[in-house]
């Protein structure tokens, strides 16, 4: 996934934290490449709402998508693969309990935990 964004040091730093690498950089914009989903808020970038909206509009994502929800920009890859995991009742209940604690869906929790574990294993983060 390739992300082209207006030059911003904080954005660059945030992206590098989730294993994005810089492909190209000039005075106006930065091109980054990575594979994981990222959420950036206006507070992270220390921008006012209008400025943040302009920044989000200027961001271009190739092989992925960007969504702005209020003061949150979500950049993520297209998820075309499906992984089917079989669980016992006990495992399902544990996962459900954990998802309830974190207030998220089962699949979101599963994917997040899986990807962070893989990234840690490979020392990407």
């Amino acid at each position: 996934m390739r992300v082209t964004a207006p030059k911003n040091e904080t954005f660059k730093k945030l992206m590098s934290e989730v294993a994005y690498r810089i492909l190209k950089e000039d005075d106006f914009q930065t091109v980054l490449e990575g594979m994981f989903s990222v959420e950036v808020s206006s507070e992270d970038l220390k921008m006012r709402p209008k400025e943040f909206k302009r920044f989000c509009d200027a961001v271009i994502v190739e092989d992925g998508k960007k969504v702005r929800k209020g003061n949150l920009l979500i950049i993520g890859p297209y998820r075309t693969r499906q992984l089917r995991v079989r669980l016992s009742d006990e495992e399902y209940e544990k996962l459900k309990q954990c998802a309830k604690m974190r207030m998220c869906s089962l699949s979101f929790l599963f994917r997040g935990t899986l990807l962070s574990a893989i990234a840690k294993r490979r020392e990407l983060w």
Partner: protein
Amino acid sequence: MTYYVRAPKDERVDAVFSRAFKKIGEGERQVIYEGRIDVEFPQAMFGFSDDEFRKLCRSVRVEGGIKRRTKEGIRFAPLRRKVLTVRLSEDEYRLLVEDAREVGLEASRWARNLVMSLVEQYLAMELKKKAMQEIRAVCGECKYWTGGGCNNPAIPRQYLREVYSGRRSECGYKVEKQGANPPEEQGRSTGL
């Protein structure tokens, strides 16, 4: 999830199965074991010939779980009826498959093992956090508690030991011997 394995009575089988299963019943011809997790026993562990091992695999009955003959031996696992579908990108899927291949497992099995171990860790931590809150609620403002200082049966000993080990009691009374009951007039709460 618990599953039950009925196996023919044999010393060699018992020696192997007892390592991973709990024996819960025994008859003249059969022994019943209780299992909880995925287990695989290689044929070499039993010391059986191919024929003997084949016979054993056929005679073993599993309730609430599955048995499967593998290349190396026999595998037992609990029944997994629920199916969770997770969407992944091509790159994410590639990383998962590479990792799974490294350890010699299928992608979905590797993913389940990885995630469930982390989920169990998280739940155990949450349980511990809750227990610690209960300890604080019971012990009030007493910060320095000795391991043997609190006699409330509701408080698990290991948590006390972890937090208050090696510290002298400053809670208003001193316990002479471990396990001695605190005097009633100290007003120690046993509200749990």
